[in-house]
């Protein structure tokens, strides 16, 4: 009888220790990966700071950084110090932060919407930010706000505004937000806003290049003040995303099963969308629209580290930072003329083919 066979098996002891050890091995591997990425990130920051039109040796970079941190070091001349600390390091740090923010937002969007193509673009958030900037440029709003150009604020308002519109559009009568309607609403809003941007571009020839430059995304001329501007959004967005990492795992099973398992689906989804939007808005506000980081990095990390969102979020943040730091270095030095490329062009050139490879490769195909 099947009944007796079940109870007979139940008499054997459960392999708690084995299961626990297996899970511990997973944790150990994660910590190793994290240490490796962290080390890589530190080395990258120093290396990337040394690279540029003005030759600066690595020891000098160290001297400047440690000097600023309050250590006694060999004196460095003023110009070098300004270039290393004020211009390059701030830019490297900013690109790292933006990379981490975009990758984290990508993980959240993809996990929430069960859609490999979900990213700040699909949901209209990036386009909203771009429209905010285009409007300000057209209106010729100048001056400064808290020492910043008002453009980042425009981007921020545009991003959050677009997210709100998308959420309202996709909200059903009962207050539930369905993921299908969310993506549709995102695409509709995004298309509409793009049309508005094109309208602004054609109405106002003068602002064309400024808008285009912004839309391509760049870290040119950014400094510590932008880091300061990004940080609050970044912290809030990261906290929200990590707070709900377990729910993200469960929500990958779909709305219905999440409900059955006790997740307050609508509330959690709203908070996660808010977190990811804050990350995107902050990133777009300081750097313009940089594509593909939020799309490719989560895919890449998922293939290597598995689908568990706690690990995925952390590792993606680090990987995103690494990738964008080096993409920005490439943007700075790639053109022989000494001109800078918009970093968005670099990420799109690298990310496009890479994404194609991911789509075609065996290991990811079963995933979607």
């Amino acid at each position: 009888m099947p009944n007796s066979s079940i109870s007979a098996k139940a008499a054997a002891p459960l392999d708690l220790a084995v299961a626990r050890d297996r899970r511990r091995t997973g944790v150990r591997r994660f910590i190793m990966a994290l240490l490796a990425l962290g080390l890589g990130l530190l080395v990258s920051v120093v290396l990337a700071t040394g690279i540029g039109r003005m030759e600066v040796s690595w020891p000098t970079v160290f001297s400047v950084i440690f000097g600023k941190l309050g250590f006694t070091v060999a004196p460095v001349d003023r110009t070098t110090e300004v270039v290393v600390w004020g211009i390059r390091l701030s830019r490297v740090v900013l690109s790292g932060l933006v990379g981490a923010a975009l990758a984290t937002a990508g993980v959240v969007f993809q996990g929430l919407l069960l859609n490999p193509l979900a990213d700040p673009f699909t949901l209209g958030v990036s386009t909203g930010a771009a429209l905010g900037v285009a409007l300000l440029v057209m209106l010729g709003v100048g001056g400064s706000f808290l020492g910043l150009s008002p453009l980042p604020l425009g981007a921020l308002l545009g991003a959050l505004g677009a997210m709100v519109v998308v959420l309202v559009l996709s909200r059903e009568s009962g207050g539930r937000i369905r993921k299908e309607s969310l993506i549709l609403a995102g695409i509709v809003v995004s298309t509409f806003l793009s049309a508005l941007i094109s309208l602004i571009k054609s109405l106002d020839e003068e602002s064309l290049s400024a808008i285009v430059f912004w839309i391509m995304g760049s870290f040119s001329g950014r400094g510590w003040i932008h880091v300061g501007f990004l940080l609050p959004y970044m912290v809030l967005g990261l906290v929200l995303s990590f707070w709900y990492h377990r729910e993200l795992d469960i929500m990958a099973l779909g709305e219905e099963q999440s409900h059955h398992l006790g997740v307050a689906v609508s509330k959690v989804r709203l908070n996660l969308l808010l977190g990811a939007s804050l990350l995107t808005a902050g990133a777009v506000a300081v750097s313009g629209v940089i594509g593909f980081v939020g799309l490719v990095v989560p895919h890449l990390v998922r293939v290597l580290a598995g689908p568990s969102h706690g690990r995925l979020l952390v590792l993606s943040a680090f990987t995103g930072a690494l990738i964008l730091i080096w993409a920005d270095v490439a943007a700075r030095i790639l053109l022989a003329s000494g001109q800078e490329l918009p970093v968005g062009v670099v990420t799109a050139l690298l990310g496009g083919p890479f994404f194609f490879y991911l789509l075609k490769s065996r290991r990811t195909r079963g995933m979607w």
Binding site: P2, N3, I6, S7, K9, A10, L14, D15, L16, A19, R20, R22, R23, L114, S173, G174, W243, R246, D249, I250, A252, L253, G254, E256, Q257, H259, H260, L261, G262, V263, A264, V265, R302, G306, P307, S308, G366, M367, W368
Partner: protein, 272 residues
């Protein structure tokens, strides 16, 4: 355990079920039967809190279902849906561990108790060997058993199943119902399952509820309601009910809609 009063269910303008009144006591094994589109799944959705009632009350252990927090609801109610397509390659053990979500503290890490619950549930559903396998790579029957293990890991008092075995072959169906029966008998687990397979229902359910035309048309002990008259009325199909000589449970045999055809197709059998 479950009390339903004057329940009215539907989607927007479309009314699916109305005037439902019933009670289910602890330890019952209830089959919900009815033709396609009669509202079996709708009822399960409502009982699981997924679909808010248009009117009426669902009371689970003296609490209104709608006023329970998601967490408390999931501690009492486990649900096995019709299909459970999982897109991310989580190992099966991780899927089952998700059943511990309503019992875990947000900042606490996974305890040995959680892990034990998961392993015990996997053993009960004979999925222990699948612990490491990605859920995207197991067969449909195995996945359904993993999902049942997940529902069991919730440590629920009530288990709702929505056509959970419809896509499985005979052996897999029986295996799953053996597990449900075992838990029903040993743990006093209350089981409600919406199902299509009449004979499977007659074999395992102690009570059957027939749904048709927006309401419950029959509800009672299997022995009393599993009759040719009721089955014929509910499914609009002529049926005969025979008692199996061995286990004494009733089983239904459908009769052809037009009696003439059998003779033409297989005259020898008909004559014998």
């Amino acid at each position: 355990m479950i009390r339903v009063e004057e329940l009215e269910l539907g989607y927007g303008e479309r009314l699916v079920l109305k005037g439902l009144n019933f009670q289910v006591e602890r330890g019952e094994f209830v089959g919900i039967l009815g033709p396609n589109g009669s509202g079996k799944s709708t009822l399960i959705h409502a009982l699981s809190g997924l679909l808010a009632p248009l009117k009426g009350k669902i009371i689970i252990r003296d609490e209104h279902l709608g006023s329970l927090s998601s967490r408390l609801r999931a501690q009492m109610l486990g649900v096995v849906p019709q299909t459970s397509d999982v897109r991310f390659p989580f190992p099966c053990l991780e899927i089952v561990l998700m059943g511990r979500y309503p019992h875990r503290k947000r900042l606490g890490s996974l305890t040995d108790e959680d892990l034990l619950w998961a392993l015990r549930s996997m053993r009960r559903t004979t999925t222990e060997h699948l612990q490491e396998r990605p859920v995207t790579e197991v067969s449909g029957g195995e996945r359904q058993r993993v999902v049942i293990a997940r529902a069991l890991a919730q440590d629920p008092q009530i288990l709702l199943l929505d056509e959970a075995t419809s896509s499985l072959d005979v052996r897999k169906k029986l295996e799953i119902f053996e597990i449900l029966k075992f838990l029903n008998v040993t743990q006093n687990l209350t089981v409600l399952c919406a199902m299509h397979d009449l004979n499977l229902a007659a074999l395992y359910c102690g009570r059957l509820m027939f749904i048709r035309d927006g309401g419950i048309v029959q509800d009672g002990p299997t022995g009393e309601v599993f009759t040719p008259a009721i089955l014929g009325q509910v499914y609009e199909t002529p049926m005969e009910v025979i008692r199996h000589p061995g286990h004494q449970r009733p089983y239904a045999v459908m009769l052809p809609l037009s009696p003439g055809e059998i003779e033409e197709d297989a005259p020898e059998v008909a004559r014998a």
